[in-house]
Symmetry: C2
DNA sequence: CGGAAAGACTAAAGCGCATTAGCGCTTGGC
DNA sequence: GCCAAGCGCTAATGCGCTTTAGTCTTTCCG
């Protein structure tokens, strides 16, 4: 038999017990003037003794906001439970939110449209005070949408927006230096003697994918590398493996591969292992995001080591600043350091010999973007 | 310059426009009797036209519940962003919740105490109508806590609780057949000729860890395996690797290893690779949870393939049933199928030769639980 | 010593919704 | 032809909190 649940105390209970009016209680508990220090203390004691907590809905209804921020993840299911990145990010976000007693409303949806619909609904229902937005895109409709709704937002991993003089941007942005990282990775490989580098990228509609592709091209031009290219994938292991096979089937395959996330890189490493290509002797591999994964496989994967939890914390800080009334602005994350591990080494003198794959038919021609 | 955000319409606006009272609007929009079909339609149209959505706080305040369920993840940060399991689970949970227009309040905390504190706070603030609880433990305090608070809850991955006749359990449970899976895994390995099996387990305080350990012991006894043991870890890659090293350093090392999650297994595979132990010729590996990871590494890891998203969906269904007033009960997940992959093969005729680890001092004696 | 100002506190209204009581009208049964 | 019942709707209340507008008392100053 279920015990009848305890009734939660309200301010009225406190007022009764402390012998004051409800307003006095409100003033006392919200650090507002209007009550003497002694009364304040007494009220506080009673509140504590009763285990009172403000009822979220009542607060929200009387104009205080919902004390909640939202986060929507819009990724196809199969690439979802994959990257350590998100849980790390969320974990960092929470650290900051917990301090401010803000809740995190979380939603996983299939695509961009559903994501936008979620924002609209949250806005209409007053469910969140602001949102954190991930995976900025090319021609992203979300800043305008959120700006139009007047819903405070932080675009995580987006560059500073271009705004006309005097205008203030609709949303805050938290930049990750993709170009800088790419330059560092290419520099690392170039220093090891690599001249043919291929970039196995993620989804082309994401802005950071485009930035990385552009940066690779720029660095290649700067260093005089004529054979540097990017191919895009959907972040899934299968496409990572397939792209790797295609690239390695090339007449003059690259000596180094840069993968846009850990899953792609691990899948690529498996392809190399399967083909008997020695890493890093014949082929060097780099993963974009560091993770347990990168450290777990053998050889461990060279990767830029950034503090993802801190990234999340900064994003949450940018949002709380916005909620406090600060104008939207831009923050830039520091450039992470490249951690060289077993998967990168000096470029081979000769090209790696792509042994025919064990149980595989002839591969098609490599398709590079 | 930020546009002044649009004012969100309330029922009063609808009432005004439709020329009826607020109550009529409430009746019409909540499918309650008291308005004629024509008026109802008119009101509905106006509501739609205005893009009205019920304000969550107001609903909650007038006794309707918060339309939100909570999920707390209490895992040390370093083992967090690791398993695909959680995001998959959450993704499944959302599918169900989205249909019922329920939000998911998500929180990551450091430990059990913080988790319990979160439940208390959520309860006191009326922030959630129910919670989903993961990682059931030995002597878990959470069912009693939640039962006492009268907060509907579903323990994900917990066996049916023992309750006295006539009593109903405090919370619902959704069982995963750990014992059955372990039996199937041991059976698979036994059929391949393996006789020395070690189980690299997860955190000992989790109930499922204990169930798996007990099941391994039982199966070993049934099959007459004298050398079957479990060692526990914290799920981190480093402990997975360390445990693997210790076990392989044994005088007569096992020919098969069962890992309690994908990360441990991948770390174990890396150790084998690093030592030049051929998988599966000399050593077979099994991962408990299937994931992209298991499929990405080479050789791919044999694992029980369960539909984690469905698991999450079922958990959410159990909770919504509870919210609808159904009594707490138990549901059992079906036994997943074991997917044999490249990491398991016939037991070697001879023991695998544990080559001395490259840069490592002599290992201590293996410690098994 | 009178009046203004400041301080401590209370009363009351309002946030947006659900719900209950109640009002006026139409029907139906006898 | 009258009363009861039912329908369609409105008015009013309450959820728990914040906030504004007071009220009453004390203090300070000219």
């Amino acid at each position: 038999m279920r015990r009848t649940p305890a009734r939660r105390p309200t301010m009225k209970d406190i007022a009764l017990r402390a012998g004051v009016s409800e307003s006095a209680v409100s003033f006392a508990l919200n650090d507002r003037p209007g009550v003497s220090p002694v009364t304040r203390d007494r009220i506080r004691r009673v509140a504590e003794q009763l285990g009172w907590q403000p009822r979220a809905a009542a607060r929200a209804l009387s104009g205080e906001g919902s004390a909640t921020v939202g986060l929507v993840l819009a990724r196809p299911a199969r690439t979802l439970g994959v990257e350590s990145f998100f849980l790390q990010l969320v974990s960092g976000i929470q650290e900051e939110l917990a301090e401010r007693k803000l809740g995190l409303l979380f939603q996983v949806v299939e695509g961009l449209d559903a994501e936008c619909a979620t924002y609209r609904r949250w806005w209409a229902e007053h469910r969140v005070d602001g949102v954190l937005v991930v995976d900025p895109r090319q021609d992203d409709p979300r800043p305008d949408l959120l700006g139009g709704l007047g819903l405070p937002a932080v675009m995580i991993g987006a560059p500073a927006p271009e705004v006309a003089d005097g205008e203030s941007p609709a949303v805050s942005t938290l930049g990750a230096d993709d170009a800088g990282i790419m330059a560092a990775l290419v520099g690392h490989l170039h220093a090891l003697g690599h001249r043919r580098i291929t970039h196995i990228a993620g989804l082309p509609e994401f802005a950071h994918t485009q930035r990385r592709i552009a940066s690779l091209r720029a660095e290649a031009a700067r260093l005089g590398l004529t054979e540097a290219a990017s191919v895009t994938t959907d972040y899934s292991d299968s496409e990572g493996a397939a792209a790797t096979r295609r690239v390695l089937d090339h007449r003059r395959p690259p000596t180094a591969l840069i993968y846009d996330n850990d899953v792609l890189a691990v899948a690529g490493l498996a392809v190399a292992t399967e083909r008997g290509i020695r890493v890093p002797d014949q082929l060097s591999l780099v993963a974009w995001d560091d993770s347990v994964l990168c450290r777990s496989v053998h050889p461990a994967l060279t990767a830029p080591v950034r503090d993802t939890a801190a990234f999340g914390r900064h994003a949450a800080q940018a949002l709380t600043a916005l909620l406090d009334g600060a104008p939207a602005g831009h923050t830039q994350e520091p450039l992470p350091r490249i951690e060289p591990r077993g998967s990168t080494g000096p470029a081979p003198d000769q090209d790696p010999v792509p042994a025919p794959a064990p149980q595989e038919g002839p591969s098609g021609p490599p398709r590079c973007s």
